[in-house]
């Protein structure tokens, strides 16, 4: 197995939002798939202890995880080992069992996760987080301090109720010295598959306004697309299934912009 933990990981990107349910895990998964589609070696660290969604989104089921001399061996989604994943979901015997832990225990486990996974060589490690600005987020940062954190991508939906929370997350980044790589607006309009009418189900424009307000880069918008929701639901690779869709084009553009900003560092 691979040596070291984060030593051979070129870039570490946190995916954050103050708000729940905006699509952090979806965007993390899609960015990972897009980056892989573009030939990069990618890893995902899922530190959402209460609601680990990534294993389902990548169809990895409930594999057994084991340790080698350098730490936990991540789960690979394919034989070529192009996409690696470590999630708390893998440590739970019963997928319906709740992880009912208070802060200190969450902090301790995240510490292990961050330091003790044998990622090997990766171009990008994406870290999916739960919503908020609490124990998990502080734990991730404290443990990543020894390595480089390139920065964070913030996910929001267009609504004020969402951007209102993401503003606070931006403050969290500023206070903890995390560079804001940019803002992604998810659920950005719904195009009716029957008549092509666009409905702004979760309002409009909030992502760009937030970027302007806080002096951040606006990375782009991803629409509400039932084909994307279905892919995520079924753990299918949207990049492979619908590479010509405008949704994938949007995700691909975002991933390219992200990659460019990481590589010019």
């Amino acid at each position: 197995c691979e040596a070291g933990s984060l030593a051979q990981v070129r870039h570490v990107v946190l995916v954050l939002s103050g708000k729940g349910g905006v699509g952090k895990s979806t965007i993390t998964t899609e960015l990972a798939l897009a980056l892989r589609h573009a030939g990069k070696k990618v890893g995902i660290l899922d530190v959402d202890l209460c609601g680990p969604s990534i294993p389902r989104m990548l169809s990895v089921g409930r594999p057994e995880v084991h340790q080698c001399d350098s730490g936990w061996v991540p789960v690979y989604t394919d034989a070529q080992k192009s996409l690696a994943l470590m999630s708390i979901g893998f440590l739970m015997e019963d997928p319906d069992e709740a992880v009912v832990w208070r802060g200190p225990k969450k902090t301790a486990l995240i510490g292990q996760f961050v330091s003790d996974v044998a990622w090997g060589e990766l171009d990008v490690l994406l870290v999916d987080t739960p919503p908020g600005t609490s124990d998990e987020h502080l734990a991730v940062l404290e443990n990543l301090k020894k390595h480089k954190v390139d920065g964070a991508v913030l996910v929001t939906t267009p609504q004020a109720v969402s951007t209102g929370d993401v503003r606070r997350e931006i403050t969290f980044c500023k206070k903890t010295g995390v560079r804001i790589l940019g803002i992604v607006e998810n659920m950005s309009g719904f195009v009716c598959p029957h008549c092509s009418e666009c409905s702004n189900i979760f309002s409009k424009g909030g992502g760009e306004e937030l970027a302007k307000l806080t002096g951040s880069v606006f990375l782009g918008s991803v629409p509400l697309d039932p084909l994307l929701s279905a892919s995520i639901e079924e753990g299918k690779d949207f990049a492979q299934s619908f590479p010509d869709s405008s949704t994938f084009s949007a995700i691909s553009t975002i991933s390219q912009t992200l990659l460019n900003s990481l590589q010019t560092d």
Binding site: G20, V100, G103, K105, L138, Q159, V161, R168, C192, L224
Partner: protein
């Protein structure tokens, strides 16, 4: 039997000693017995909230399914009966949405001899949230568990609610400090139960099942489940799209499997989000929307009499 990862609670007999305590930085402290003295606040809260007839928690394992939207509109619906005193408590410390949704952004709370005064939306509808304690919309509450727990204790013990018919408590997603604290601090009171919110897709349900397990573990009765974002009817062509597909049967199947009441299925309506952003009640703004109709039915049916409560055995 398989060890379940569960913090037994700092004041439990198992504190520091249970197998789940291995690896927790507080293990020694708990095992020493220092944390075991019962928190006097629990009895104080029991006393204080004895004049609250009904307490309803709104929970979900999953974020962004509409807990705050539901809590706010439940409070509005209950308060539409002018003879009832209603209060809405927001214990989402990191992401307090309730002030905006209730049209109370920028309001501040003040203290008096009898405690903190909540903010009133109507004469009979009071609201409390950490949002009212923050100076600016950019202020982040970067608190670890123990500090969040302290805030929740204060909200329950020190807010001058007065006599209430209904106290609705909105929570953040998950099964962590906030949820354990709310249940522990309310343990000397009677809580009617929890309404669980979900959306149709399995990605949500898989988290919601955990929340249901949590309720079971802490013996919190479940009043029922509400499925939000249940289909979208295009305003132009009137065709329905399942934007969040119920690929594993949605809340309907989950409720059937777990023997829980499905209180209602609320469709997606862009006007709901808009009302929330503008701090208005969509029950008042768009009373003839199908979503508003479902909400009214939910509140009027099993709910308002709270005489029909399901226990998970």
């Amino acid at each position: 039997s398989e060890e379940v990862p569960y913090c037994p609670g700092t004041s439990s007999e198992e504190a520091g000693k249970s197998a789940s305590c291995q690896g927790c930085p507080n293990q020694q402290l708990c095992a020493s017995g220092a944390t075991k003295a019962p928190d006097p606040a629990i009895a104080e809260i029991g006393e204080k909230l004895s004049v609250v007839k009904h307490k309803i928690l709104v929970l979900s394992g999953k974020g962004g399914v509409g807990k705050s939207t539901f809590s706010a509109h439940l409070a509005h619906a209950l308060a539409s009966d002018g003879t009832k005193e209603v209060a809405l408590l927001d214990v989402d410390i990191c992401g307090p949405s309730i002030p905006r949704i209730m049209g109370l952004e920028g309001e501040q709370v003040h203290q008096s001899g009898s405690g903190w005064s909540p903010v009133y939306v109507e004469d009979n509808l009071a609201v409390m949230s950490i949002g009212f304690l923050l100076g600016s919309p950019d202020d982040a509450v970067i608190w670890r568990g123990p500090k969040k727990n302290g805030m929740i204790k204060q909200f329950l013990r020190d807010v001058d609610w007065g006599q209430l018919d209904y106290l609705v408590i909105d929570t953040p997603p998950g099964t962590s400090d906030e949820h354990l604290s709310i249940v522990q601090y309310l343990s000397s009171t009677n809580v009617d139960g929890a309404v669980i919110i979900t959306t149709p897709q399995e990605v949500s349900l898989q988290d919601v099942r955990k929340e249901i397990r949590f309720c079971q573990k802490v013996k919190l009765p479940i009043i029922g489940v509400v499925e939000n974002m249940s289909g979208f009817v295009c305003p132009k062509c009137k065709n329905t799209s399942q934007i969040f597909p119920p690929s594993s049967g949605g809340a309907e199947k989950m409720c059937a499997d777990l023997n829980l009441p499905l209180l209602g299925q609320v469709p997606l309506d862009p006007r709901i989000g808009r009302s929330c952003d503008e701090g208005k009640s969509f029950l008042q703004e768009v009373p003839d929307s199908p979503a508003a109709e479902v909400y009214r039915r939910i509140v009027q049916s099993e709910f308002i009499s709270i005489s029909h409560i399901t226990f998970l055995s």
